[in-house]
Subunit: 144 residues, 2 copies
DNA sequence: TACAAATAAATGTCTTACCAACAATATTGA
DNA sequence: TCAATATTGTTGGTAAGACATTTATTTGTA
């Protein structure tokens, strides 16, 4: 009595499927990153700053397609952990520049290796063509 | 000077790509659903309850693969909007049954049509094979 | 029966995400 | 020049997701 309907509607919708899968993959990354005390979103920020140390806040947000207020709070947490630093932009007093700390530079390579490994593990579950098609669809969807 | 590195690292990672696309698709649904005063997550819950009116809280959470605490807060909001109702389970005093209200029943069909339309719009951007491959990958990723 | 263990849902905390409103600063254009 | 406008980053609000803890109830077993 009162069985579960295994085919309940929401699973028909792209948005639902995406969010479910995203959560799953996110948790997978999260569990691994937690040994470094950071979250996936924090890793993306560190990674982008590593690529362009001293990047402007504005450009960082734009590059990550992240709302400014979201970035503000992630920077707050990373700064609290002494992983990065905001400095004044000498050219524009409204603007901020973002730098990695020494501490972050010491672990970023190792964390990046982990991220690559996780990525390969996921890719490895699929054939080249299958994965390529997947990425193509993601790419088109992200261009709106 | 100080150009944006368009190829900043994070975009290499599946998890990052997924979350970016998910956010985009989510916003797309969100904008349309907002005319009914609900969010996509709230729609999934309504939709699942509609499929199985009087479903147990526990089974609802399981079916939606949603943490109980997340569902609790979504139910709170839907109950506040008079869209659904918790009732005691006569068979187990720890358990709750979830029902749609009259108000919800009046609009759920219309909202579902909208959801179907959005879904078709997204699917329609791709070829059959392309979309099928995409769904296959999502499916595999969502299993474990 | 009695009591320990398991289960159901709620609560509190943290993180991410979005939006609107705001303060400080820069740019513009009359 | 200087007032209107635009831009930068922060703050505050709400929602969602995850996790740990808590309370009430049920189950299982000694």
């Amino acid at each position: 009595m009162n069985e579960i309907k295994t085919n309940s509607r929401p699973s028909k919708y792209v948005c639902y499927k995406l969010s479910r899968v995203m959560r799953k993959v996110h948790r997978y990354y999260e569990n691994s990153f937690s040994q470094y005390g950071i979250t996936p979103a924090q890793f993306y920020v560190l990674s982008a700053v590593w690529e362009n140390d001293g990047v402007k806040f504005k450009d960082l947000a734009k590059g990550l397609e992240m709302d400014g207020s979201t970035l503000t709070s992630i920077l707050d947490r990373l700064e609290r952990q002494d992983l990065l630093e905001r400095r004044d932009d000498p050219e524009d007093r409204r603007s901020l520049l973002v730098f990695l700390t020494k501490k972050a530079k010491q672990s970023i390579v190792e964390i990046t290796c982990l991220a690559e490994k996780l990525n390969q593990e996921i890719k490895g579950r699929f054939s080249e063509e299958e994965y390529a098609a997947f990425e193509r669809v993601l790419e088109k969807l992200s261009q709106e």
